[in-house]
Symmetry: C2
Subunit: 149 residues, 2 copies
DNA sequence: TTTTACGCAACATATGGGGTTACATAAACC
DNA sequence: GGTTTATGTAACCCCATATGTTGCGTAAAA
């Protein structure tokens, strides 16, 4: 399997939604992501259940962000998409009867736990508003470069 | 794919080898791991290339650890098995032209980098000897429990 | 010479995210 | 009211990759 990109994709769309003045359709989102409208709906369903967005059917419908961008962290989005497995490495047998393997498992668990905590902590510190501000900075920088070129 | 257990498995066998007084055959190792001798050879080849173990063909042959257990860290073993991908989550498009996605990618990269550094640091701090000592502790504890039961 | 092991290529298998098709339903527009 | 536009969801296929398996070659000891 390739990388699970649900978190990354949802962040992408959420920031777009935060900047849009109306709903974004699944089709439009899919085009932004280079993906498929069904995949978008499937993944966004988690965000809707988490209360981060709402969906409206029919003409003029689509997806709208309902939460305040400065109140939504990457961690919340990660959880809203179902808390996908973080690591692709892990224990061979979590419940081995072999004491050697138990010792190995203890050291592996400890290392992975530390890394996961570092990740979760960081995800909890960055909001959609932070990412949107970074976008604005990049956007301004681009205009700057165009003018001085 | 399930979890990549190569690091875990190799640690397991390395600690067994450190405690054995002779070579361990691929078949014996495979039985310890609940796996297959070919898989063992395939994975151990990396450890041999890294100089951690040696293999001997024929009668009485098998695998022997050649490095000092207190000089071999989990990190070295991780590298010897080919530095498998750590995360199962990641960026949707690492080289997107979309500035929003670039901002998302920056925040994702930063969080993942921090977690990876935490993991690598920890892996570099724990040696095979540490794991072997933990095994001894567990083993002693088990005898203790048996006597007081 | 036989047996025991490793070395390695080639192929099979399982898993899970993502892509695709199909159909149902709801809401806006005419 | 009928048509169009959207979402909701099920049911499939596709693909990458660690792992499992078979087969054959080679080296070393009995």
């Amino acid at each position: 399997m390739k990388l699970d990109s649900r978190l990354s994709r949802m962040l992408h769309i959420l920031v777009h939604m935060a900047r849009a003045d109306g709903p974004i359709t699944s089709q439009a989102a899919a085009e932004m992501l280079g993906s498929n409208a069904v995949v978008v709906r499937r993944t966004m369903a988690g965000l809707r259940d988490a209360g981060l967005v709402q969906s409206v059917k029919g003409h003029g419908g689509g997806w709208t962000i309902t939460a305040e961008p400065d109140q939504v962290t990457m961690l919340q989005v990660y959880r809203a998409v179902g808390e996908p497995r973080i690591f692709s490495i892990g224990l061979a047998d979590p419940n081995s009867a072999c004491l050697v393997e138990q010792a190995v498992n203890a050291s592996m668990r400890s290392a992975l736990k530390e890394a996961e905590e570092a990740l979760v902590t960081r995800l909890g510190e960055v909001t959609l508003a932070d990412i949107a501000r970074d976008f604005e900075r990049r956007f301004a920088l681009l205009g700057e470069q165009a003018r001085t070129a």
